[in-house]
């Protein structure tokens, strides 16, 4: 028995070395291909986002972006012939679940070309992991800690939350069709992402003459908000600034009920421009009150032009895989992440490399362009221009990108509402002077 045990131990030890080496290699998350050339086999885009939990409404918007981008690339020759696939990695909106999801994505997929998603719920936890794995990522986080990030593989195509908060305050103070609101209730979810709005909104609103009637962090997915709403109504605000994804319907219906069937004007962040949010709130308070009392903020999209037309065609086609995909035709994050994936594919073609360390820097060059660059709006045109030896600038469905040295690309806000079908309608725009005042007040 002793001999057998010892022999087994020696055998185990000898096997452990290559196994450990494999584990170390996987943990290091080396690039998919170390040499030049685009390689062969499918490429994978990891959609790492909440698909369950309180923020389950976010993941599908990003998945839809990938499902639209994949055929745009695949139907136009792929990435050097390689087909792009999409896979969901559910973070449940919690850092504790997001970290294993990110590790699993990296360890189990040697063909990752990029990751998209990583919301404020989990970005702080997963972005460093993906950066260590040299995986280009497009994150939908507004957290200020990424304003001057040193993560080389991190890309952000939307402004920081602080600007979203300023825009909401701008809507309250300078928005059309109403006198400036003076007493605001801040009703934000108690998740990391939503709470990021509170301080900048408070700073900007109070320094520009407003008063915060009540700051009410609400627990998302609670069974009811009756006492919270009673407390909020007692503070007598004339407007509610809010982002409480998943709980907006419950909260706002209670507002209407306790306020004798009358709504209070409410201003939502850019995340409230979302078909799921629209449906929830419409079902809860009715379409008439939603159209009358809701105002939102969003980045200035045109929803037109060749890039958007191509995006829309592919998004509608994605309905065969994900029936809700076409609903995201005006969701800013869907447009931006679609662009991010196309830019990554073009960067791979431009560098003729599937090595992530090689094509990552090219993504920003393709987004920002350079003097004399040919502007392209579709993947097909981009590949043709690259093959013709031209340098390109990709202007996609979400419009122009202008990355700074911290890999942040930002643009201005518009004031919006909904029409009865849930389409975004622009109702105004903040002037440069108003924007400057808000930023100065917000600090």
């Amino acid at each position: 028995m002793k001999f057998q045990t010892a022999a087994r131990n020696r055998w185990s030890g000898s096997q452990a070395i290559p196994v450990a080496a494999l584990i170390v290699l996987a943990a290091c998350g080396g690039s998919s291909t170390s040499g030049g050339g685009l390689g062969s086999g499918d490429l994978l885009v990891g959609v790492i986002a909440p698909f369950t939990g309180a923020d389950a409404g976010l993941g599908p918007a990003y998945y839809a972006a990938c499902l639209a981008a994949a055929p745009e690339i695949n139907n136009n020759g792929g990435v050097g012939g390689r087909q792009v696939k999409c896979q969901q990695f559910d973070t449940r909106g919690e850092p504790a679940d997001a970290v294993p999801a990110a590790n699993q994505m990296i360890a189990s997929s040697s063909n990752l070309m990029a990751a998209v998603g990583c919301t404020s719920d989990e970005a702080a936890a997963v972005a460093p992991i993906m950066d260590r794995a040299h995986l280009p990522m497009f994150c939908m986080t507004g957290q200020s800690e990424f304003n001057k990030t040193t993560l080389k593989y991190f890309h952000r195509l939307v402004p920081a939350d602080v600007y979203d908060a300023f825009a909401m305050v701008g809507s309250a103070l300078f928005g059309p069709n109403h006198a400036p609101y003076k007493k605001a209730a801040l009703v934000f979810g108690d998740d990391i992402g939503s709470q990021a709005f509170v301080q900048p909104a408070t700073n900007a609103f109070t320094k520009l003459g407003g008063t915060i009637a009540i700051n009410q962090p609400i627990h998302l997915n609670a069974s009811s908000y009756r006492t919270e709403v009673a407390a909020m109504l007692k503070a007598n605000p004339d407007v509610i600034l809010t982002e409480a994804l998943g709980s907006a319907g419950t909260y706002l219906k209670e507002v209407k009920t306790q306020n004798g069937g009358k709504m209070i004007p409410f201003i939502g962040s850019s995340a409230t421009i979302d078909p799921v949010w629209f449906q929830q709130v419409r079902d809860a308070i009715g379409i008439d009150d939603l159209l009358k009392y809701y105002a939102g903020v969003d980045l200035g999209y045109t929803f037109s032009g060749p890039a958007y037309a191509e995006f829309l065609t592919n998004l509608n086609a994605a309905a065969t895989q994900f029936a809700d995909a076409p609903k995201y035709k005006q969701r800013g994050s869907t447009l931006h992440l679609y662009d991010g994936i196309i830019m990554t594919a073009l960067a791979m073609v431009a560098t003729n490399s599937a090595d992530r360390t090689v094509y990552n820097p090219k993504i920003i060059q393709i987004a920002n362009g350079s003097s004399g660059a040919t502007v392209v709006n579709t993947y097909k045109d981009g590949v043709a221009a690259i093959k013709a030896g031209k340098t390109i600038r990709f202007v996609g469905a979400g419009g122009e990108n202008n990355f700074d040295q911290y890999n942040n690309s930002q643009s201005g806000y518009i004031l919006v509402g909904y029409d009865k079908d849930g389409n975004e309608v622009q109702v105004g725009q903040l002037t440069p002077d108003q924007t400057a005042k808000l930023i100065a007040a917000g600090g």
């Binding site: 939990g53 009673a230 407390a231 219906k253 929830q280």
Partner: protein
């Protein structure tokens, strides 16, 4: 002060909803000795049954009955098809908890592609607003309180005054002895799954009405609240579950009025932990009407 009075009124609604769910859960455990972690998913499934009927133009009160029937049938089949075969093979108590957890996850994931991840609302479930001495409730919330009171009285009557109730208590106290005394414990167990399943289904619809807007993800929250009230009152004790529901329902709302609402569940569950530390057997210590079968 007004806010506390209003919160007290809201607490009445909250505890009514919790009581229906918790009494069903604790009866199920007390008599069948089964901690059914799929309870929350049966609740949310029943809520969706009522939702689709309501969407088709049927009043939510009929939907509530349909939800109760669905919950009864679903729970009965769950026991017959899944739990009972495992129990016959001698699966341990902890093993059965894991089985019910697996069922919970399967039901949630099977429902997801059918109902979607987004929140939905019943139509016309608010009713008129009634104000009385600082308490502000809708007529439908008052109806929910009424439904809970009637159900609690019915459960009391069932357990105390009917042959079935006495057979349930006997089965809960000692199933072997009950069987030897001629009580058809198998049929009693079936009846328990049907009755507690109906309570579960009805609780799901009431909880969804109470929430104004609900989604598939709410199933886990429903379970935790029912479980907490049941454990607080003393596992397997229907009257204990009623007391647990009162405490959790009231504390949740009053603490939201007193402190930041993000901590309201922390406070409620903090009290649960405190009671468990001081009195691990729950508030109703005496092995009364329905002690867990041994």
């Amino acid at each position: 002060m007004d806010l506390y009075v209003a919160a007290f009124g809201f607490g009445l609604v909250g505890m009514s909803v919790i009581a229906i769910a918790a009494v069903g859960f604790t009866m199920q455990f007390g008599i069948t000795n089964m901690i059914n972690l799929a309870y929350g998913e049966v609740m949310i499934s029943s809520a969706y049954v009522a939702y689709y009927l309501n969407k088709a133009g049927i009043t939510i009160w009929v939907g509530m009955i349909a939800g109760a029937v669905f919950g009864a049938v679903f729970s009965f089949l769950l026991n017959r098809v899944v739990y009972a075969p495992f129990l016959r093979r001698g699966t341990s108590h902890i093993g059965m908890v894991i089985v019910s957890l697996a069922v919970s996850l399967m039901v949630a994931n099977l429902l997801l592609p059918i109902v979607g991840y987004y929140s939905v609302s019943y139509q016309d479930t608010t009713g008129g607003l009634i104000r009385a001495g600082g308490i502000v409730l809708t007529t439908n919330q008052i109806a929910i309180i009424g439904v809970a009171v009637v159900l609690m009285l019915l459960i009391h009557g069932l357990l105390r005054y009917t042959r079935l109730g006495k057979a349930m208590r006997a089965t809960a106290a000692n199933p072997t002895l009950a069987r030897n005394c001629g009580i058809p414990t198998g049929r009693v167990i079936d009846a328990v799954w049907l009755i507690t399943g109906a309570l579960c289904g009805l609780a799901g619809v009431v909880a969804a009405m109470n929430s104004d807007s609900f989604a598939i993800a709410n199933g886990a929250g429903f379970l935790i609240t029912a479980l907490a009230a049941a454990v607080l009152g003393g596992a397997g004790q229907p009257y204990g579950a009623m007391i647990g529901a009162v405490i959790i329902g009231m504390v949740t709302e009053l603490s939201a009025a007193a402190w930041s609402p993000e901590y309201k569940e922390v406070v409620a569950f903090g009290i649960l932990v405190l009671v468990m530390v001081l009195r691990p057997q729950g508030l109703l210590a005496k092995r009364g009407a329905l002690a867990a079968a041994g």
